[in-house]
Amino acid sequence: MSVNTDKGGTEKLNPRIKKRIPLSTLRRFVMLGIIALFLLQFLRIKILVGGLTGSLALWFVNLIDVFAFLENLFSSKDLTVIALVSVLPVFAIYTIIGRAFCGWVCPMDLLFEMVDRVKGLRLNIRKGKEKIGYGLAGILLIVSALIGIPFFTNYLSHLTNFFRFLTGGIFLVLRLPVDNTVIVFSVGMIVLFLILDYIFPRLWCRTLCPVGKVYGLFNKLSLIRIKFLEGECGECHYCEELCYMQVKLTPYLDRKSLRDSNCIYCGRCVDACNTKGRLIKIGFRRTG
């Protein structure tokens, strides 16, 4: 994550001269690494047990997704110490890294990128409308409170269904008890998400996903931020073109840093700028 600052954008460096691992590659490794750690549980290795909605790290730290916690709170109408203790570590993590979960951990990002390689009918909605997600999250919470079931997390969630599919598939192969309708349902849900992504690229991440929206709120108070180095911008807008979340970067170049609630810190803008001006990087402190 460290970019040598003094060179800045004044010098147009050829990327072949100084090689560093692109963030896009790095985050792919992180993502697959975390999924691999989850897969170790099927060999009975207790590093990460569970899924990305709720898990158990190192066999003693309970973790629960923040939106799942909210749904649990609304549907049970009761704040329990157990759930609170489980959500606190996650809360702490996201006050540091903000919405980086979406770009660095969420397996849907990997699947969506595979969909991106398929050419065809892609409708790109290039307008804001990011506020819809907050409304949707609110509606889902109210639905959960009304029916007394954590609705999104239990039925619709891409994370729950992804890990249900993993567990179900592996249990099916190992001939352990598994309800086959669960596998059929979770595969169906994942396919629906992929079809949605095929027609509207990244609409789910950008506008709808309530899990990401809640993490987006953390972006406003997190330590991580996009930083702009001093230098001359070539106005190529390549960074904005590559950005999955359609974050506007160029108007804020004089600000030195940016914390947009939609930014997933995937680092595609960093990689984009590295081919041209080397102005953008991701860092933690305000200066430097």
């Binding site: 909605t53 898990s55 759930a83 997390t153 352990l176 059929v184």
Partner: protein, 250 residues
Amino acid sequence: MKLSRRKFIEILSISPALIAGNGLTVFKQAFTEDETGPLPDIDAGGLIRPPGALPEREFRSRCIGCGVCVNVCHVMKYDAIAIAGLKDIKNFGTPFIKNMRDFPCGLCMECPAKCPTGALRPVNKEEVKMGMALIDFSLCFGWNGDVCLSCSKACPLGAGVFDFFYGEWGNQPYINDNCVGCGLCVKYCPLGGSAVKVIRRERYTEVKEKYTAEFRKLLSMPPEERYNIVYGMNMPEIMARGKIVEREYR
């Protein structure tokens, strides 16, 4: 192993067909289920929850279906907990003990301790209320002229749960209200298809009167009548089950 290009292309072309075929069988199996167990006229009254579960309504409002308990159960080598399917749409995604015949709960009490939402709460082994095991008197060896006692030997709570009525018709076991419903007796019953069934506690309170009446009737039955029941009706059924239901120990 060296893989020639031709072989690789062969595997590549076969694998989608394999995956599709497997998917089709999963899809077919998903909506069919065959079950011949003991006590066919008493249903389980819902899903048998993992130990430490809150009352059904509260449990449902708290469980987010994350699957930690399922995977904890797998790590502890019991594999008892599964995720409920679409048959009961309200309980979809919640954990339950699916197949007690092969994968009963071992009462290791790890899943309630590890549940991140508090839908399962830590309790003592003896205070678990997963369900209630009922013996089918018409199938049990002990009630039909044998001395088996496999269920009582398998029970993790042992003498606190089992009562024995010794007589000329065998060493007749009876499971009392202290049963926690873990299902270990279901697994270790030697009868084809098991002679023990675990039902929910709520269902047990409904059928308790009828069940204990049958139990008392059998104990106080005159020997001739009992002889006819045991050798006329029950034994042929037990023998037939031994032939029909193949048992593959896991």
